[in-house]
Structures are given as C-alpha cells and as structure tokens.
Symmetry: C2
Subunit: 145 residues, 2 copies
C-alpha cells in the first residue's frame, strides 16, 4: 500500500475535516480500493476491523467528504451511489452485462474543463460515463458460438 495512515490523516486534515479513526479507515479503504465501492462494500470490509462500525457513520463520513470535495459520487444505475476519491479527471465504462465498472482515460477536449464558465454557468464537476458490453463479456459471447 502506498498510503500510510499518517499520510491519510494529512489529506483529511488539509481539507478542514477532523481526522477521526473511522474517517481515516474509510479514506484508507477508498484509496486502496479504487473500485468505486458502495456503502455496503465499504461496510462489509471495515466492520471486520471495527466491529462497532455503523453504516450511518459511513454515510455521514462520505457525505462530509463529498461536501469538502475529497470524494465524488457516481450514480450510474439509479440503485446505489458509488464513491471515488477526487483525482485526475477520468470517466467510466459500465458493462451492462456483468455490471463491472472500468476506469476510462480518455482525452476529450471539452468535457474535462472543470472550473470553467460556459454559457454563464460555472462548472465545478464533470462526469462522463459509457455503457455497453465489456471486452470480457464480448469474448464470452464468442466462445459460446
């Protein structure tokens, strides 16, 4: 793991959020599992380390992180919200068959222009996503023929 707890503490504090144990562990999970986890996934993973952990704490923490611009929410399916540490702007590909989410690093000349004013509207966040059938599922199809 690249990030130790001290680093994570610094990341959180620098955004004006008190670095409590739970918050540090949630941030650590997000940094080490860049799989756009759901609250459920984070809970299942962390409750092993923190048996008293409550899902409400995860919701509270993530909402706070979003407010402080430390993490970003992703709503692809309309089912559960997923969370991503704010980082270099990137987009996502969601496979309609296996529901897996892939990061997509695409150069796109407009959609990445965060913090610009366009038509008088101030852009703070840019999200892009693609839906389709992923390579793996396509290959599975071929194998069946």
């Amino acid at each position: 793991m690249i990030t130790n707890l001290k680093n994570i503490k610094t990341i959180i504090s620098s955004k004006g959020v008190k670095a409590t144990f739970q918050r540090i562990k949630i941030m650590e999970y997000l940094l080490n599992n860049k799989s756009h986890p759901t609250v459920e996934e984070i809970f299942i993973a962390l409750v092993k380390q923190i048996p008293t952990l409550s899902k409400t704490t995860i919701y509270n923490t993530l909402n706070l992180f979003v407010e402080k611009n430390i993490v970003k929410t992703l709503n692809f399916s309309g089912v559960e919200t997923r969370y991503d540490v704010v980082a270099k702007s990137h987009h996502h590909f969601i496979c309609k068959r296996c529901r897996k989410i892939y990061d997509v690093n695409v150069e796109c000349n407009f959609l990445c222009d965060e913090n610009k004013v366009v038509n008088g509207n101030q852009i703070e966040e840019v999200t892009g996503y693609f839906k389709g059938i992923c390579k793996k599922c396509l290959n599975n199809d071929k194998a069946l023929n």
Copy 2:
C-alpha cells in the same frame, strides 16, 4: 405541439412495442416536456387525464422503452431516475443550488462516439454531465452583494 398521437403511435410501433393508450400518453408527455421528468412528475401530470393510471404502469412502460432503446435514463443525483427521449446525443448541466437541469449541446470529439468499440469494449450509450452553479443562481448571488 409538433407531435400528434398518430405520429407517436408510429414511433412506438416502429420499435416493436404495442402502442397502447397509456404508452402513447407517456411518450407524448416525454416528447412535449423535455425537462427530464421523474416518474412522479409524469404521474402527477397524466393522472389528471387518466384517473385510473397507476405508477406501476409508468415504471413498466419506461423500463420497456429503455429496453427497446426509445428512452434513456439519467441518474444524476442518486435520488430519482429521470427519463429522456433518445435523440441527438447531448449532455446535461445540473445546478447544485436550484437543482434545475439544462441541456448542453457540446461538440466533444470522443464522448459522443456511440456504437464504437474502444479498447475492446463495445460502447452503446454515452452520458456526460456537468455540475455547478447556473447563470441564474450566480446572478442572484451578485444581486445580494
């Protein structure tokens, strides 16, 4: 209104969906109210014309339309799903303050490439959205100073 019921019937039928009364009225609403409505909004509007209308019918119909690629879902907030008639690819700007959604017509050289294969993944749908503060809300801010 540009679209009469006969046209709508044709649109629906041409996609292999039986054009029932409820389906036509839902499609009509979507075509005449391109405000990315929620199920709730559609229901409130249509139940005046069809007093027996059930929300389940709206869900069923919209899910069918999505399946048949007649409409597209939009999940910006993680709260309710919004619906858009499939049309020329465009993106959306969501104001964080007033929650209004604006259509954005942007030329972007990559994100609009539907039905292409990228890195072995077959892209069927492309969605992009921007979040920020809209012109109107920005002007309200200025007025207060």
